[in-house]
Every structure is written in structure tokens, then in C-alpha cells.
Symmetry: C2
Subunit: 348 residues, 2 copies
Amino acid sequence: MKIAIVGASGHGYTAIKGAKQHPDVTGDIVGIAPGSPGESISAITTYLEREGFQPGVFDHWQEMLVQCQPDIVVVNPHFSDHEQIALAVISQGRHLFVEKPIALNMLGFEKIRACYQASSVELAAMLNMRYEAAMRTAWKAIQVGRIGDVRSLHVQKSYKLGTRPDFYKHRSTFGGLIPWVGCHAIDMIAFLSGKAFLNVNAASSAKTNRSHGDLETSASMFFRLSDETFATAQVDYFRPESASGHDDDRARVVGTKGIIEVRQGKCLLLSDDCGPDDRGRLDSNEHSWASAVELPLAQPASLFADFMAQCAGIGVCDITAEESLDNTRISLLTRESADTGQQIALSD
Amino acid sequence: MKIAIVGASGHGYTAIKGAKQHPDVTGDIVGIAPGSPGESISAITTYLEREGFQPGVFDHWQEMLVQCQPDIVVVNPHFSDHEQIALAVISQGRHLFVEKPIALNMLGFEKIRACYQASSVELAAMLNMRYEAAMRTAWKAIQVGRIGDVRSLHVQKSYKLGTRPDFYKHRSTFGGLIPWVGCHAIDMIAFLSGKAFLNVNAASSAKTNRSHGDLETSASMFFRLSDETFATAQVDYFRPESASGHDDDRARVVGTKGIIEVRQGKCLLLSDDCGPDDRGRLDSNEHSWASAVELPLAQPASLFADFMAQCAGIGVCDITAEESLDNTRISLLTRESADTGQQIALSD
């Protein structure tokens, strides 16, 4: 598959890593161009060369698409440019691997969804948490019934703020903490629960953001889901800089037959039905989890590698185009709840 | 202090334990009576004798109050009887140590509040979590600025369902999971944040409650607090029966200078400012907490012992009457949000 990359402000590097990870499909990265005014692509170009790719380097992404005729376009410029580039890529009939949120407002989202529905391209958003080993392990355990029916969920994402690029400082170019970070929590709720989203109440605050302009540093979300199920989520940029590791991502899923938890890259199952196949009991000092087992982690996998296989017609990736699009829709409406203080309906 | 106990369906045993725990005030438990039709007091009477008390045992609490003339009355019958007994106790000018929720509906709450405000008695609800060592440790660390300004909180309470008494099976006698269990989460949010409650959105479900009638098995809550702060909470009765320990209580408080967490009876502080006085770094395998310290736990204390001292005029307990009352008010309004699906204002 011929792959071109537009921009260097998101998680495009996951496509570079994934391009060589599928056993039956090989990706060649043939072009790279900035996607936003003033966006530097030097770091990602150096990384591409180190990984053995020799892409054409272009000043303008439009020219690159004409020259390279890529099968797949990886889109990760400043977030306010996702929309126009995504529309161009789909309109040209190229497969789209796009940073989230796919658009920064509902009008843009509706345009992209309509454009996608009128096309025959493949589309996936960079919701990579579905491919993290501990989250996949939790998902698989839930799928095979280890916790019975899901009743409630809580998801946490806690990040270091560090120093963010200037475009993070403006709602108009960044979009907000909820669409950028909260979207992952929303996706984990969708992925792990399998329930439909009914409505949302949310809040966010930009207090104490160390001169980062509009950038919110904390947000909380509350979702009523189908089947009398509900979820809460919290995201923040207050993880201390001296902490080891950038993030502290967690998920806890309460089911009728057990409770599953992801934290510190591990997947823990608390259940009356832990069997001999489970990997031994946890340290009894952790008294709350004395009946818990740490599940063997699922094999690592790559969202982009699976997406390439899907584009090649020989596989599927674990997030559909519809799920990718709906994540942006729900994220934008959650932000609206935080902005207005009102409950927002989420049924589509 | 002369103490009488009405009922045996809540946490009255904490008063029995606390009656001998204050260095300067001694409590004598002089009477015990049921507070609800059919309520058995045999277990608590046996416990009282084992603890060295020789209370008069009465069939009717009204008679007990006349005969014993107690200074303090401990009220913990079936929850629907809190209201009438609390009103009688306050009206007689006796100090009230009462199980929460203090009333099961807003009308009853308003009556009790008005009665209290017209009296000169002391009043505390059995919100014992303020006195748990790890929670006190967290509170003290927050008070001295270890995490800066509080920005968000999440509180969890996960309990085993087991087999509950029949009065749990009816909303009219039990009141609901949010007033009974959620109230503790609400109190921890109030205690640890020091913020005012602005509004709430909540949900609850009685699904899969193993023949417990109306009893809800899960609830989620979302609170907007003053100062652009917010909190989420989740409570459930899905803790597996084989897990060691009845509950899995947690709190996580995110501040501008650090994050503090209570779980498994420990209090963990993650901060850039952990100093040499802190008790050593945690196991580096816990990578998310590699810069965390486990704080030395605060000395155990007894809410009831402090309440006795307050009644004797020589001390104060760590929950005021106003906080005790407000916890019931907020808990009942949170239940209303769960029942109606609507956002409910909480400003008083």
C-alpha cells in the first residue's frame, strides 16, 4: 500500500510503526507534507528515514496527493485542519487514517460523515487505546463473559502538561481537552461496554494551565448508557512532571459477575469464578484484590497495520468507520455539555 | 454521658465502641430499645454486654427515653424511622447521633432541620468515613497544601451484596442506594474538597439485585462544585462474595500541585514536592506511582468519642450538624436526579 502523511502534530508515528507490522500487507510511506501553516515536519521526516522509508518531502499536501497517488492518507496536522484535509482525501477516493477529533465542530463533522457515506473508502480515527494490550485483554475478558453483564464503568486519563505547542492554546485550533483526550475515555466506554450512549453531562476548566491560553486542564464526564448502564470519566493535565511515565490511564468495569480493571498497564479481574487457567493470585497485601487475578496480556497489535489490511480487503481493524465518526460526534456534544452546563442528548 | 440506643439496623455499634475511647469523657450506655416494628435488638444487646455495658432493655424507645433520661440518643432503626425518632429526640433537648440519611424525603428533612435549628442540641450523622485513617490522612495532607488547589475528585464504594434484611427491599423503608451508600461518597467529596455543591446529575439501577426488590445495585453521580471543580462517584453492590473484605472504597483527588489517592486503606501522594519526611518511595514496579509516597496513616479516632466530647462542651467532632444535615439534603436531591434523569440544583 502506498501511504502519504499529512502533518506531524498528532499520532502519525503510529502509522509509521504499523506500516511494517502486518504479515501479509506491506506499507510504503511515499510522501510527507505539512498540513498546517508553519507546521514543522523535520522530526517526523528524520524518524521516517531512521525507520528505512524514503518518502518524497513536499511543501504542500495537495501537490503530494497528486504526485504520489497514495492508497492511504495519514492525516495529523493542527487539529483545526483535520476537516478540510479529510474531506479532500475522501473526495479523491483515498482511504483515510485520521487523527481525532475528525472535526472541531458539528458542521464539519456532518460534512465529513456525509462525504464518507457517499464514498467507498475505508476510514479509521487514531483511537489507539483499543489496541493497548491491557485494554484489549479487558475487552476480550468481557466479550467471553468473565464479568457477566456490564453495569457501570469509570475511565481515567491523567497526563503531564509539560509545554504544549502554541496551537494547543486556542480553542479554534486545538478544539479542547474533551475532544482531544476525553475522546479516548469515551471510546473506552463504547469499546468495553458495547452500550449505546443516551445523554451526557460534563464540565471542564482551564484553571492553573501554566500560560496555556484556552487549554483546559481538567474535565469530568457522566454518560447515561442503554440498558440502565452508566459511565463516568475524568481527564486531567495535572500529573506531576516528576512522575515516571507520561500518563496514568485506567478503566474499571463493574459487571454482574465480576469487576475488571486496567491500571499501570495491567488487567485485573475480580470474580467468584477465577479458574486454574488464570495466572495466579495477586499479592495478598493488596487486600482489596485478594481474590483477583492478573490476566495474561493480549498480544500487542497495531491499529494501522489492521487498517492497511482492511484497505487491502484482507482484514478488519477493531474500530469501524462508524465508530470512528461517532466518537467525534459524542466528543463534540460532550464538550457542548461542558461549555453550557446542560445535559445533551446523544442518540443519533 | 448517659447514652441510649434506639434500633439496631445501622452503625450503632460505632457508638458502643466509641463510648470508651475518649480520654476525658466516659459514656455509659444506659438503655437499648428497638426503633421499628419487628426489629430485633438481640445481637446488639449481646454485644453491649460483652463490652461491659449493662443497659436497661426496653420494648418501646419512648418509654426508654422517659425512664433513662439520656444525654445522647443513638438512633439507628429501619431507615424510614430515623425521622420521627430524630424529631422526638431533638424536641426533648437530647443530643442526637443519628444514622444517615437522617430522613428519607425532603419534607422530613426540612422538619428535622427546622427542629434542630430551634434547639440547642448537638447533632451528628454517622458519616464515619471522615474518621477512617486513610481518609483522614488524605484530608490532612490536602489541608496543609500537599496537592495545591483541589480541581477534581472521584470516589468509589464497592460492596458485597450478600443477603440484606427485608427492609432493604423497599424504597419506602430503605430509601435507596444513593442515600444509604452514595451519601458517604458525597461526604468524602465535601470533606476532601471543601467546595460547595452546585448541581448534580445521577443515575441508578436495580438490575440483577438477586431478589432484593427495589434495592439498587449500582449508581453513578456527577457533581459540579464551586470554583470550576467537579466530582464523580460510583457505588455498587457487585463486589464478588469471594473477595476478601466487604468493601473496596477509594478516593482520588487531583490538585494543582499533586494527586492524592486512598485505596486499600492506604493514602498515596503523587507530587513533585515529596520530601525526605515522606515514608520512602513505592515499589518501582508500580510505574504510575514511581514518584509517589505512601503517607504515614493518621492516628485512628472515633467520631462518636469526639461527638461525646462535643456534647460535654470540651471538644468538637470533625463533622458539624450543618454538614450532617446537608449530606442528607444533597443525597436526597441526588436520588431525585437518578429517579428523574434531570439535573438538580444543589445550592441551598
